[in-house]
């Protein structure tokens, strides 16, 4: 009897499994029935949808619109503004607004709202950096003048990122009930589950094709399963899941500056004002830093760890207008790396690891333990470098622990922004130890000077010139050719699955953060017949 029961159980289990095995995908996606889209691109913003505290840094703010924006070629174009003028001395920026823009509640967007937005953002002292903004003048109902305390070329990028909020509807819970002049308005946000938005009838720009968007915030596995059942139109997946075939969806792999690299502590070991340990006796030697950069085989990492879904990185700004193209090096050149080390007095010890005056070329590389991509990169980096002759011990830790160690030990970090200000934050000596910026305490007077000149340049071209000089001026710089305070490894591609009949058009090089940036041009998405 017992045996019979067991057999029955087996049959039942198999029958159940069998049922699940055959999903019946609805081949006609929701996209073409009611002009609705379901997106599972993750990245639910914890702080809500308030641009003055950081919403919309990556991609479009969706509910709000900005004064200027970037097109897919990274050229600056107008959005809410119709014109902007920078004064000769670079201190005054006059912006003229379009007069036909309204918020989703029907009120028109005026100079007062712009002034209110910038003042609120300045007061909140969040990720939006407006320290140089002195005051804002109202020149008319649709004209404002921003007065800066010193010329700041990067202000151009602030104008592109800060969504305008309405003065009359900005309440305590604005982050949860955003009202703005963007292409969509919020219908419902169930935290941790989904966000439903619908078309803003008052939007002044290109009318988006899709009436309603639903953003699902589920785990990656769950989203993938739902996508396979034909319920999702746009899905973002991590690179590790990029080998999927999903019926009715095409894979889109977007190039990015979402980079990963090893940050190397720059100074000799010492302590900072807060008593934290700073610097590392091994990585403070420029020969070690350069040897690491030359010995590593970036191509092998792209192929091996990223399955080819990425590009090699030589800087944090590859392929951006302010990135220098001269700084690419020939890597995977162990002979050259060995030469650099021998010239600097390092010799191979008995265990094949380099030594110099009793100091072993050994370091501990930290990575955030929850991040499988960074873990894989760290393990492979360590493996390749150990083979070459520099000992790298990997250690996974929480971000809290890493904050304790990051000034004195190499860390696997990631950056990548559409704002050149990031270069300043990463390499300028005044940013030493501020948040995660310049955590390796890099300092080079000449580079500081170039960075200051870049930020205070009055035109974009001039600024880009200085950004490039800071990387390498033929003599010194912060790139691998110069001081090499980083070993930049790879730029991760961002992988999306998109329903076959949806055309998302040209995308710009994607920034750090996988998900929201794809919504940047959502107003231009089309359904193909």
């Amino acid at each position: 009897m017992k045996k019979f029961g067991f057999i029955l159980l087996v049959i039942v289990v198999f029958a159940l499994v069998g049922c699940n095995d055959k999903p019946t995908p609805e081949t006609n996606a929701k996209a073409d029935q009611a002009n609705e889209l379901t997106l599972a691109i993750g990245g639910e913003p914890e702080d809500g949808f308030d641009p003055t505290t950081g919403w919309g840094r990556y991609g479009s703010p969706l509910f709000q619109s900005t004064l200027l924006k970037q097109d897919s070629e990274m050229e600056v174009t107008y959005d809410l503004a119709t014109d902007y003028q920078v004064s000769e001395d670079g201190l005054t920026w006059e912006v003229t607004l379009r007069d036909d823009a309204t918020f989703s509640d029907g009120e028109s967007v005026t100079a007062d709202d712009v002034i209110f937005t910038y003042e609120t953002a300045k007061k909140s002292q969040s990720v939006v950096d407006l320290a140089d903004l002195e005051n804002i003048d109202k020149k008319g109902d649709y004209q404002v003048a921003f007065h800066l305390s010193q010329p700041q070329s990067s202000f151009l990028y602030t104008l592109q990122r800060l969504g305008i909020v309405p003065e009359h509807a900005y309440t305590e819970d604005y982050a949860e009930n955003p009202v703005g002049s963007g292409p969509y308005q919020l219908v419902e946000w169930r935290k941790g589950e989904q966000l439903i938005v619908e078309k803003n009838p008052h939007y002044y720009g290109n009318q988006p094709v899709f009436e309603k968007l639903t953003f699902l915030f589920s785990g990656e596995d769950q989203a993938l399963a739902v996508a396979k059942a034909g319920e999702i139109d746009v899905l973002s997946v991590p690179i590790t899941m990029a080998n999927q075939e999903i019926a009715g969806m095409k894979q889109i792999s977007l190039q990015s500056v979402d980079n990963r690299g090893v940050m190397l502590p720059y100074p000799e070991p010492t302590t900072n004002e807060e008593g934290e340990e700073v610097g590392n006796s091994v990585t403070s030697d420029p020969a070690i830093r350069k040897a690491l950069n030359y010995a590593i085989d970036r191509e092998a990492i792209v192929d091996g760890v990223l399955n080819g879904e990425g590009t090699v990185a030589y800087s944090s700004t590859d392929d951006l207008p302010w990135g220098s193209s001269e700084i690419a090096i020939e890597d995977a050149d162990q002979e050259r790396a060995e030469q650099i080390l021998t010239d600097a007095g390092w010799e191979r010890g008995e265990d094949n690891i380099f030594e110099k005056e009793g100091q072993k070329a050994s370091m501990t590389l930290y990575y955030p333990s929850g991040d499988q991509m960074r873990q894989s990169l760290s393990l492979v980096f360590a493996d390749l470098i150990n083979e070459f002759g520099i000992e790298v011990i990997t250690e996974g830790a929480s971000w809290n622990e890493i904050e304790q160690e990051m000034h004195a030990n190499p860390v696997m970090m990631g950056w990548g922004s559409h704002d050149p200000l990031e270069l300043y934050s990463l390499y300028h000596s005044s940013m030493q130890g501020i948040d995660y910026y310049n955590a390796n305490y890099y300092q080079n007077e000449q580079v500081d000077q170039y960075l200051d000149q870049a930020i205070h340049a009055s035109t974009e071209e001039e600024a880009n010139e200085y950004w490039k000089l800071a990387q390498w001026d033929g003599n010194t710089g912060m790139s691998t050719l110069g001081d090499a305070p980083w070993v930049w490894l790879v730029n991760l591609n961002h992988i999306y699955y998109v329903r076959e009949n949806i055309k998302i058009g040209e995308q710009k090089v994607q920034p750090h953060g996988h998900g929201w940036p794809i919504t940047d041009f959502i107003t231009e998405w089309q359904v193909m017949e």
Partner: protein, 268 residues
């Protein structure tokens, strides 16, 4: 009888010793990644081309070491506390209360709390496991000791002026030895499974350590892309090892508890 005991033990120890032959860092072969199980890689390879058989054996080694250490510590703690219990009725009441308290809490919850407070890692897990696995054995030992205390020969020994620790060493310990052994063998697999589960949940060993729990939680991300072997073989191996040990423990228990009164007839 002997065979029942020796074969599982032998297999178990072989695996353990084998795992010591593997060097600490398992080499990465990026050209060989994501391989399904084959003859050259019996358990397949992971997303960095590491051989899963080697990783699993390494994980088993860590698990067993951890299991032995915690089982020893918990048993010793249990013995110590149960001895204290018979010193004074007041202590006994306190101990009973403590045992009830710990037994009324789910193991895993207490374990996560303790391990988390201690910052995880090997130390955190060992202390957490020790502090959660002592009550069951302590209760058994305490009952045994209370009964022993009333035995005539103990009473006589006491009347003759033998001190508490003398009695503990010469009367209690030999009597408790089978209980201790059984308790040890029962705690051991329990501890290992608990270690694997809290590590899997992310409160246990660091991601660096080659533990089975780590391997299982890592593989979760790859299950949906069809790489079933990453979770299947390590899980089955862990289960098999536990079953082997359980077999041994059972046989050992029977061996210890066998009725010796007839033995001399057979052995002559």
């Amino acid at each position: 009888m002997k065979k029942n005991m020796m074969i599982p033990l032998f297999l178990f120890l072989t695996c353990y010793v084998l795992s010591f032959l593997i060097k600490d860092t398992i080499s990465l072969e990026l050209t060989n990644k994501n391989q399904a199980p084959s003859l050259s890689h019996l358990f397949g390879t992971d997303w960095l081309g590491r051989d899963m058989l080697l990783r699993t054996l390494k994980g088993i080694q860590l698990s067993i070491t951890l299991g032995v250490v915690t089982a020893l510590l918990s048993t010793s703690l249990g013995l110590l506390l149960s001895l204290l219990a018979i010193v004074h009725p007041y202590l006994d009441r306190m101990l009973s209360w403590l045992i009830d308290l710990f037994l009324s809490l789910p193991h895993l919850v207490t374990l996560i709390l303790i391990s988390f407070v201690l910052g995880g890692g090997f130390k955190g897990v060992v202390i957490g496991l020790m502090l959660t696995h002592w009550p069951a054995i302590t209760r058994v030992l305490r009952a045994e000791l209370l009964q022993l205390q009333t035995m005539p020969y103990i009473q006589i020994s006491k009347q003759q002026g033998k001190g508490f620790w003398w009695r503990a060493r010469h009367h209690f310990l030999p009597h408790l030895f089978p209980q201790l052994m059984v308790g040890f063998t029962l705690i051991f697999p329990h501890a290992i499974l608990h270690e694997a589960s809290i590590t899997f949940l992310g409160f246990g060993l660091a991601a660096e350590q080659p533990a089975i729990g780590i391997i299982l939680s890592e593989s979760m991300q790859y299950l949906s892309s069809g790489m079933w072997w990453l979770a299947f073989f390590p899980g089955v191996t862990l289960l098999l090892m536990m079953l082997l040990f359980q077999r041994f423990a059972n046989a050992f228990k029977h061996h210890l508890e066998r009725d010796r009164s007839y033995e001399h007839y057979f052995n002559g």
